[in-house]
Subunit: 208 residues, 2 copies
Amino acid sequence: MITVALAKGALLKDSVTRFAKAGLDFSAVLDPDNRQLMVPSSCGRANALLVRNGDVPVYVAYGQAQLGVVGYDVLREQQMPVAQLVDLGFGGCRMAVAVKETSGYLRAAELPPHCRVASKFTNCARQFFDELDLPVDLVHLTGSVELGPITGIAEAIVDLVATGRTLKDNGLIAIEDLFQSTARLVGHPLSLRLDRGNLQEIIEAMRS
Amino acid sequence: MITVALAKGALLKDSVTRFAKAGLDFSAVLDPDNRQLMVPSSCGRANALLVRNGDVPVYVAYGQAQLGVVGYDVLREQQMPVAQLVDLGFGGCRMAVAVKETSGYLRAAELPPHCRVASKFTNCARQFFDELDLPVDLVHLTGSVELGPITGIAEAIVDLVATGRTLKDNGLIAIEDLFQSTARLVGHPLSLRLDRGNLQEIIEAMRS
């Protein structure tokens, strides 16, 4: 039995569509009345595990799911030991540094040393500012990071930007990108090594 | 101007009720149409900052909010430098170790050494098992921790239990409590030291 970890939320619909093309129909997870977190495919060959975005790499790294779909942003932040198999192309967004529109900063390097930067992705932010050789004080927040510059807890934020609407609504502007992110198919390394073809078939179908 | 950090979710309604008794009416935050994250009190003397549970101690520790209401569970997990002022009594729940009902384990000490334990509260769990002198492999999950024993990623979980309904629905049973949790009024230490009476007045009113 194959288990696939799917992230609840924005990536779910496209994830189901792509698995359907590979012969695994998980459309039951899209039923708004569904309360199950473990949902069998209509063919009975596989189970979908509906978990939070950040938990997909955990279930795949521990081998409780052989495959999973998750944003590249989460993979970069968590650095879990999973195999990145296919860039699925959907769920496009970018990790960016943003500041108040009125701040006058045009590049991340212009931020004052030791300023505070709020983010849900403090590992990504740390790496970025380390490479820039700019010491900053990172403030880890778990939500509504755009509040950072408004409340004054941080001068800048590092956050995912899709349409840019949230930034605009809060008087913020993105000044530099860390990286682009899309949904990725990931796999459990040992399961891939022991695979007798079942997993490879799905991976190949999802690649095309 | 006083800023109060309030946790969105289960604690919000009671938090608003208690601040109303202390003369700060934040009932606008309960309006289902409210989209604002910073909401002035009706008297204009204070602002409520609507943030995630886990972000309340961050805003208070950095002094962006002078007061905040948050669960004791979050305070125990995060260990941020905030002053614990009043046990508000509501939002009661307990942090507990739970296992599959069919597992046969009756106490945490019976769990096999080096077994895996899933939790959102890995700091609390680590401290508990360290004191028990039982080495366990902690798996950090961000949601639906009750899936842990079902999927086999963990033999036990450490999670908040309020009614016990979620455990029961998933065939789990709590075998040991780590601690009881309730909502706490917390404050920014420096703001409390510099306070000319405004904050103390609110704190006293909320204590009664």
